[in-house]
């Protein structure tokens, strides 16, 4: 294998030929492949590395690199390694999918179904309400409203956590202010079920959807509308043939983003539901991490599943977003 590489590398640089040949002769050709470079332990190989390490670029990139490595890359890689590690019958460890297969059992399969259901329904409602709202905001055409909405949506899209859950318990919980006022108990609504989660998630999903879709609606140019009118099209023609085709990828992207956000939500759901009441993937991870033994490995498998879903979500969002962005320049 290494022979053709050695020849190809050595041919344009004859002065390394001797070194490569002697190295190849001594170690049986295994170390001969880096023929064009000095050997690993020679001084020439490491020349310049010291000064490169001391360069301002390296020095200023190093701290952030260390933080990312220690607190992000190593934990995620470690999680993946634990997830695919299994104990074999003779007591050793091996690579296997056992921890992922364990996700088919018990409350985990219910958690996956519940998570997908809540995220799908929640993101669909947020997509429809958010699109409608940002469409109306774009129609109102008030710069003041636009900037107020921009600030509010970016604040609320980052909302969540314990305070959000508390405010919904007080509002729509079994003793909640609005719950009592509208007598929601008679309709069978319960905050501590998937309905409650869907309603609560709207608090940050709708602002996220508005944040993504408003620039699209505002960016539809007046000239396109005028051209449509000049060619005899009605408002509905405009939306059917121009407006929606341009906005659709961005709207779809917003919906996917909302799905990802709902899927990843842990804090507010954990405070609202607590442990075991209604299994969701993030809640199960939290529970399993608190237990000892094999359950941690299953938690890692669930974590890896979440990361994969999140990465796919972001990828899809980016593709769709850039499709719409082509027209918005």
């Amino acid at each position: 294998m290494s022979l053709p590489v050695t020849q190809a590398g050595a041919a344009p640089a004859p002065h390394t030929q001797t070194g490569a040949e002697s190295g190849g002769a001594e170690t049986g050709g295994a170390t001969a492949s880096p023929a064009q470079r000095p050997s690993l332990f020679s001084r020439a190989r490491w020349q310049g590395v010291g000064s490169a390490l001391r360069s301002p670029a390296t020095l200023s990139l190093l701290p952030l690199g260390l933080i990312l490595l220690l607190f992000f890359i190593v934990p995620i890689v470690g999680m993946a390694i634990i997830a695919i590690t299994v104990t074999t019958q003779d007591g050793g460890t091996g690579v296997g999918m056992d921890n992922f297969l364990a996700l088919n059992r018990g409350s985990h399969s219910a958690a996956i179904v519940n998570s997908v259901q809540v995220s799908l329904v929640g993101s669909a409602i947020a997509a429809v309400v958010g699109t409608l709202t940002s469409f109306c905001i774009a129609q109102i055409r008030s710069e003041k409203l636009d900037s107020v909405v921009a600030v509010f949506t970016s604040v609320l899209a980052n909302d969540g956590g314990a305070p959000l859950a508390f405010s919904f318990i007080v509002t729509l919980g079994n003793a909640g202010v609005i719950f009592g006022m509208l007598n929601l108990g008679a309709t069978g609504f319960s905050l501590y079920s998937w309905q409650g989660l869907v309603v609560m998630y709207q608090y940050f999903l709708i602002p996220t959807m508005i944040m993504v879709s408003l620039p699209t609606f505002v960016g539809l140019r007046k000239e396109w509308r005028e051209a449509n009118a000049a060619l005899g099209g009605s408002a509905s023609t405009f939306w059917r043939r121009v407006g929606l085709p341009i906005a659709a990828p961005a709207l779809l992207g917003g919906w996917i983003l909302c799905f990802g956000a709902a899927f990843a939500t842990h804090a507010s759901a954990a405070v609202l539901i607590g442990a075991g009441g209604y299994p969701l993937i993030p809640l199960n991870i939290g529970d399993l991490l608190g237990q000892a033994g094999d359950s941690q490995q299953v938690a890692m498998a669930l974590g890896v599943t979440m990361v994969v879903i999140a990465v796919v979500t972001l990828f899809a969002f980016n593709r769709l977003q850039s499709r719409s962005a082509r027209w918005m320049r």
């Binding site: 600030v151 959000l164 007080v170 990843a264």
Partner: protein, 287 residues
């Protein structure tokens, strides 16, 4: 036509109501127990020492997170803009990834790592590091992970800030005038990306005040975790503190969003252009 115009406001008002009602209900619940005004629920601040401890812990985590974030991110971005533009895409991907990786998944990874360290036996180095990072007085593990969680947003903001200023010319000019690179960054670059810096700081504070998943998983009692713990026996107190916390984080995020637009050179340019346009249209109308 008027009816149609007003109909446009219906969804906007509906969403605004949906946003406002839970906040108003929790304020009502916290300060109108039994229908009359009382700040009794807030007496927990003075009575419960664990709240003060949680608040101190949260504040020290926040302070360290801000310092670490600024000290690591700004030099890295300046380096990428000045000396190593080829590394920019790599850094961007690394800094954006925490946005899609759910915090609970990061928590799982961190638990795995700390657990591995703890299993290495008493007295070994990994064990000592694991203990050190989880020290309940100052859980450095939260500082590190919070910096990572802040990165996606702060990276974008500071990156955009640096892109709008003539960074290379500024550094060269100040070097010709005899300033060191460090001095240039401190006296020229940072004042010029003030808006992005402010955004990063306020965003980091809001995140540190509100983060629950990691702190709860690692059993570190920060304020959000305290809220959840206390809610089972003193629900009104936890709602009362939650209202305070929520309004604080909102205010911080407001300031962050405003400062990102207001103090950035791009934002200034946009506003200058707008005022100019207004003046010219006014002149045109007057003449």
């Amino acid at each position: 036509m008027d009816a149609l115009k007003n109909a446009r406001w219906v969804p906007v008002v509906a969403v605004a109501l949906y946003v406002a009602i839970p906040v108003l209900c929790s304020v009502y619940y916290a300060v109108f127990p039994g229908g009359s005004f009382s700040l009794g629920a807030y007496s927990v601040i003075a009575e419960d020492a664990s709240l003060a401890a949680a608040a101190t812990r949260t504040l020290s985590i926040t302070a360290l997170t801000i310092v670490t974030l600024v000290v690591t991110l700004v030099p890295a971005l300046v380096a990428v803009h000045l000396w190593a533009p080829k590394l920019r895409p790599i850094l961007e991907i690394l800094c954006t990834l925490p946005l899609v990786v759910p915090p609970i998944a990061i928590a799982a990874g961190v638990v795995a790592l700390l657990g591995w360290g703890a299993r290495q036996g008493r007295g070994s180095l990994p064990n000592a590091i694991s203990q050190f990072l989880q020290n309940p007085d100052l859980p450095l593990i939260l500082v590190g992970t919070y910096v990572v969680l802040c990165l996606p947003f702060t990276f974008r903001s500071i990156d955009a800030g640096l892109r709008t200023i003539p960074l290379k010319a500024m550094v060269e000019g100040s070097a010709i005038l005899g300033s060191s690179t460090f001095g240039t960054i401190f006296r020229v670059v940072i004042p010029n990306i003030r808006g992005s810096m402010l955004f990063s700081v306020f965003f980091a504070v809001a995140l540190c005040f509100g983060e629950y998943s990691l702190a709860a998983t690692l059993s570190q009692q920060t304020i959000p975790v305290w809220l959840d713990d206390v809610s089972s026996n003193n629900f009104r107190a936890s709602v009362a503190i939650a209202v305070l916390l929520n309004l604080t984080t909102w205010a911080l995020l407001f300031v962050a969003t405003l400062s990102a637009g207001r103090f950035s050179p791009a934002g200034r340019a946009v506003r200058a252009e707008k005022t100019l346009q207004k003046k010219t249209t006014q002149k045109a109308l007057a003449s």
